[in-house]
Symmetry: C2
Subunit: 429 residues, 2 copies
C-alpha cells in the first residue's frame, strides 16, 4: 500500500485499498458526507468522506493531500470513486487563491492570468495547452530524426544579427557587446555544410520588437530545420506537408483528453496542401475582397482572407504562398525568374506559421546578395566561410511553436500559449 | 536515376547505375585512373575514374559533386565502390582549406579549430561527437516521456538570478535590465506545482563566470528534470541510474559507427550505482590520498581520485556522492539531520556531471532558508507563490550535456564537445 496509484489506473483496482496523492480541487459537504475532487497529473477522482470520522474543517482547496481508500464503481465519467479511509495533508494552503481555479473557465484577464501564471496552469484547460505543445515539438523532432536529421543546439549569444543590426537584444558580455540570436538561420545552414546535411533545432529565439501585438512576443520557441541536396523549395514544402500530418497524428494519439477538454477539432491534411503564387494571392485579394492597397505583401487581415479563401476553394485550412519577390525576403533567399524567389510561407487558419525556402549556396552569389543590400560580406565572414569550401544546394524552414499551438487550439493571443511570455512590459514570472 | 542514393545503401545496388552526391574527401591519381573518396552524411565511398574520359584538373578537395556510376563489389570496408560515368561539380572550391581535413586526426590547435569550427566538423571524428550528443539528449527526453514527464520550454530572460545576483549576464531589455537564466531550477519546480508533476527541459543556460577552465563554459545545454510526490532524493538517484542506462543503450544502438570512429568504450551501469556519503569521501581522501586539506567539498583533483577509487573498489565508472552539508548547497535544498542535506552529485570518470536532490516544499521552510542566507523572500515572490498554494514533495537533477558527452567520448576540454562554444574570449563563429 506504500505505492501511489495514478487516477487513470484506478479503474483496474476496483475493490482494493489504494493510495492517491494530489491537489484538492473542490470540497462539497452534504450532511455527514463530504465529497472531495482530487486532481493530479493523470486525472480527477471523487473521494467520499464520512465527516464523523475524518475532520475536514481546516482543509482548503489546492492543498496537497494523500488519501487512502477503497476503489468502488460509480456512475461518473471516471467509472470509479474512492471511499476514504484516511486523509493526510502534505502541503497546506493558508491564503485565498488570487482567482478561482475550479470553474469550467478561468475568468481572469490576461495580466492577472500571466501574473499568476503557475496557478493558472492548474486549470485543466490552461494545463492542456502545454501538454499539446510538448507533443507538437516532440513530434517535430521524432519525424525529422526518422528522416535522417541530426538535432543541434547552436549558440544563442552571437556577435551580430542574422539579417542586419535591427531588433536585437544587447548583452553585456564581459568587456564587449554581444546579442541574443534572432534565429539559428546561419548556424543551421553552416551545419548542413559541416556535413550533417540535415539538421533541426528546437530552441528559443529573440526579437527585440517593441510593438506589442497579439501575434508577436519577444522570446519564442522556433522549430527550425535545414536540409542539403535539394532540387528546390518544393522539396521543403513536401517535407513540411508530411511532417505536419505526422505532428497532427501524434497530437490526436497522445492528447485525446486534452483535445476534448479544449474542444478542439484537428485540421486535416490531404495529399497536398494547396499552393498559391503571391501574384495570384494579390489578384484574389483585389478581386474578391476589394483589397486594392496591397503590393506583393500581406497584412494580418489579408492573411485571414486568404485563409478563408483556401477553405472555401480547396477545403484546406492550410495554404502555401509561393513566389515572393526578392525585395521581401532575406539576403540568403535563392532568387528565381523575374525578381521572384524560391521561397514560401505557410498560412494555417489565416495566420503565417512558417517561412521557408531554398537558400543561395554559391559563395559569389551570396556575397553579391549581401552587397546588393548595402552591406559588406566582410561582416559575414564566419557565415560565409563554409560557402567557400563546398556547399550543397539546400533549404529549410522555421515554424513558430507558440503560433502553431495557438492556431491549432484556438487561442488568439500568443501569450496564452507561451509558458512564460516575455514582452516589452513583462519579464516575470 | 534522378534520385540520390545514400552511400550506406549502395551495397543493395550492386550492378546498378546510381547517383551519389557529397564532398570530395580525397583525390588520388594513378596513371590514367583516379580515385575519389566521396563523403556524405551516411558514409564514404571510393569512386574510380577513367581520366582519359573525365577531366579532373580543376577539382579540389571539399568540392561538392554529383557522381553517376555503376556500383561494383570491391575489397574495401564498404564492400562496394563506384565506376564513374559522369561527374558534375555542384559547388566549387577556390581557395586552400585552413587545415587538412583528410587525415586520421585533425592536427590543429584549439583556437584554430574553433575559429574554423564548421570546417572542422567535416572531419569524421569531430562530426561523430555531435551525432552522439544528439542521441544522448534525445534519449534523455524519450526516457522521461515514457516515465510520464512533460517537456517544457521556460524563459531564458529573467528578472533576477536563481541563487543570488552573481555570475549573471545582463541584457538591455527595452527600458530595464534583465538577465540570462543561469538555470531553469525555479521554473521546473514551479511547473511541478502547476500540476504537471513531472517535467523536463533541454535548453541553454548561461553562467557569466569569467575564469576560463577546461571544464567550464559560459553557455551550455542543461538536461533538467524535476518530479513531484517523491519520498526522498534516493528516488531521483534511482531514476537517474535507469535513465543513464537507457541513454547508453541508445548510443550503443544508434551510433555504432561513431563509437568505432572515436574508439570509445561505453561504461556499464549495473543494478545500482555506488553511493558514498561526503563524510566517507573526505575520509577516503584523507586516508588513501593524503588530501588532508579538504573540508566537505571536492576540487577537480579530489573528484578524479574518488573516480579512481570507485573503479578500484566497486568496478564502477559512476559514483554518487550524498549527504552534502547545507552550507555547500543552494537555498532550495531539503535539509537532513545534523546540518546535512537530501542532495547528491554524480561523478562520471572523475568529473561531476550531475547535481540533484530533494527540494524544500514547505513555504515557511523555504522563506526561512532564504532569510538564513541574508536574503529577502519578497525578492522571490514569483517563485514562492506556488509554495503557498499546495506544493508536493519534489526533487530533481541537472546534467550538463557537454560534460556528459566529453566524459563519455574522452575529450578533456569542454570546448571540443560544445558545438559553438562561448567563453570570455569567444563569441564567434
Amino acid at each position: 500500500m506504500v505505492e501511489r496509484t495514478l487516477v487513470k489506473e484506478l479503474k483496474h483496482s476496483v475493490g482494493e485499498m489504494i493510495k492517491v496523492q494530489g491537489w484538492v480541487q473542490r470540497i462539497r459537504k452534504l450532511g455527514k458526507i463530504a465529497f472531495i475532487l482530487l486532481r493530479e497529473r493523470s486525472g480527477v477522482v471523487q473521494c467520499v468522506i464520512d465527516t464523523t470520522k475524518i475532520e475536514l474543517t481546516s482543509l482548503k482547496v489546492e492543498s496537497v493531500i494523500t488519501i487512502v481508500g477503497r476503489v468502488v464503481e460509480a456512475n461518473v465519467a471516471l467509472g470509479v470513486e474512492l471511499q476514504v479511509q484516511s486523509l493526510e495533508i502534505i502541503s497546506e494552503v493558508g491564503e485565498d487563491l488570487p482567482f478561482e481555479l475550479n470553474k469550467e473557465e478561468l475568468e481572469v484577464n490576461m495580466e492577472m492570468l500571466l501574473d499568476h501564471r503557475v496557478l493558472g496552469l492548474r486549470h485543466e484547460k490552461t494545463n492542456a495547452i502545454f501538454k499539446v505543445q510538448a507533443v507538437l515539438a516532440q513530434a517535430f523532432g521524432a519525424f525529422l530524426k526518422e528522416e535522417g536529421f541530426t538535432q543541434i543546439y547552436t549558440s544563442k549569444i552571437v556577435a551580430e544579427g542574422t539579417e542586419g543590426g535591427t531588433e536585437l537584444f544587447e548583452i553585456e558580455y564581459f568587456d564587449r557587446k554581444a546579442y541574443l540570436a534572432q534565429s539559428p538561420q546561419f548556424y543551421k545552414q553552416m551545419m548542413v555544410g559541416a556535413g550533417y546535411e540535415r539538421v533541426f533545432e528546437i530552441g528559443h529565439v529573440y526579437r527585440a520588437e517593441s510593438h506589442a501585438t497579439s501575434r508577436h512576443i519577444n522570446e519564442y520557441v522556433s522549430l527550425d530545420l535545414e536540409m542539403g541536396f535539394i532540387t528546390d523549395e518544393m522539396e521543403i514544402m513536401d517535407l513540411e506537408t508530411r511532417m505536419l500530418r505526422y505532428m497532427l497524428t501524434m497530437v490526436k494519439a497522445e492528447c485525446p483528453q486534452e483535445l476534448e477538454v479544449l474542444g478542439v477539432r484537428l485540421p486535416e491534411i490531404r495529399e497536398k496542401i494547396p499552393a498559391l503564387k503571391m501574384s495570384e494571392v494579390i489578384e484574389i485579394l483585389h478581386r474578391r475582397y476589394d483589397r486594392t492597397d496591397l503590393e506583393m505583401d500581406l497584412d494580418p487581415e489579408a492573411e485571414r482572407m486568404i485563409g478563408e479563401y483556401a477553405v472555401e476553394k480547396y477545403g484546406s485550412e492550410f495554404v502555401f504562398i509561393t513566389h515572393y519577390p526578392q525585395s521581401k525576403r532575406p539576403l540568403y533567399t535563392m532568387p528565381a525568374e523575374e525578381g521572384m524567389t524560391h521561397s514560401f510561407d505557410l498560412l494555417f487558419r489565416g495566420l503565417e506559421i512558417t517561412t521557408g525556402g531554398q537558400r543561395i549556396h554559391s559563395y559569389q552569389q551570396l556575397c553579391q546578395s549581401i552587397r546588393t543590400r548595402g552591406m559588406d560580406p566582410e561582416n559575414y565572414a564566419d557565415y560565409l566561410e563554409v560557402f567557400k569550401f563546398g556547399m550543397p544546394p539546400h533549404g529549410g524552414l522555421a515554424i513558430g511553436l507558440e503560433r502553431l499551438t495557438g492556431q491549432l487550439l484556438g487561442y488568439k493571443n500568443i501569450r496564452q500559449v507561451t509558458l512564460f511570455p516575455r514582452d516589452k512590459n513583462r519579464v516575470q514570472p
